[in-house]
């Protein structure tokens, strides 16, 4: 069996499932946040900070941030392996794809750490 060193879970089936689980979490979080902002047009800092200070919202935001990192990792990996190929770009494709994949993974990990840092300070 050929495994891939840069896919999220090293398994296509597991990536497939995780892409859908994280999509559901991100969809729920998006609907909640857009709904909240639409219902509070005159939002001020105190109410905004209070919303994120509560433990349920902290956990919801953490779940969404981790989901975003996993979802974007799987999605961008798929895009990079489809288009940054030797067939389309020649011999430079393999080192270029590896570099882009590592950069994309680091940025996604950075997103998750950044979100934790934001929640830590509220």
């Amino acid at each position: 069996m050929v495994t891939n060193a840069t896919s999220f879970s090293r398994s296509g089936l597991s990536d497939w499932l995780l892409q859908r689980l994280t999509a559901l979490i991100l969809a729920a979080y998006t609907l909640f946040l857009v709904g909240y902002l639409a219902l509070h047009p005159d939002l001020d800092y105190a109410a905004w900070a209070r919303l994120f200070a509560g433990l349920p919202m902290k956990l919801f935001t953490l779940a969404a941030a981790v989901s975003l990192a996993i979802h974007a990792w799987i999605g961008l990996w798929t895009v990079l392996t489809d288009y940054v190929t030797e067939r389309l770009l020649g011999p430079v494709a393999t080192p270029l794809r590896l570099a882009l994949e590592i950069a994309m993974i680091l940025v996604n990990l950075g997103f998750a750490v950044w979100a934790i840092d934001i929640l830590w300070g509220v």
């Binding site: 998006t30 800092y45 905004w48 999605g75 961008l76």
Partner: protein
């Protein structure tokens, strides 16, 4: 199977069906949202840092360029959301036929148009 059959993988010479546009736009909107995510995290970070930061974010989003950028981000999000729901519906075995796939793609484009108008009404 004969490995000498003719193969055409030059996508530029193929007229894409509506389902292909639905698929490639799902990818393009996804890549765009990866960059949008960095902006949203910055907005969240700044808006939660202090009352001054919150006021700065409100002021920043009041600018016409920032508002248009936000609208574009919401449209990309709306499209990616609708196309993702279509995927989940197809995973449940609904709309998997050729005609079902075409109908789903049209539904996604229509839903995005409605969401784009709603986002515009919300922001302006």
């Amino acid at each position: 199977m004969s490995n000498r059959r003719p193969v055409n993988l030059d996508i530029a010479t193929i007229r894409l069906p509506i389902t292909a546009y639905a698929s490639i736009l799902h990818r393009i909107s996804g890549v765009a949202l990866f960059f949008v995510a960095a902006g949203l995290l910055w907005l969240l970070d700044t808006s939660l840092s202090s009352p001054t930061g919150f006021a700065a974010v409100r002021e920043c989003l009041d600018g016409p360029f920032a508002r248009f950028l936000l609208w574009g981000s919401l449209v990309a999000l709306g499209y990616h959301f609708a196309a993702g729901i279509r995927h989940l519906v197809m995973d449940l075995g609904v709309g998997e036929s050729l005609e079902g796939g075409r109908r789903g793609a049209r539904w996604v484009f229509a839903a995005t148009a409605v969401l784009a108008v709603l986002a515009g009404i919300w922001l302006w």
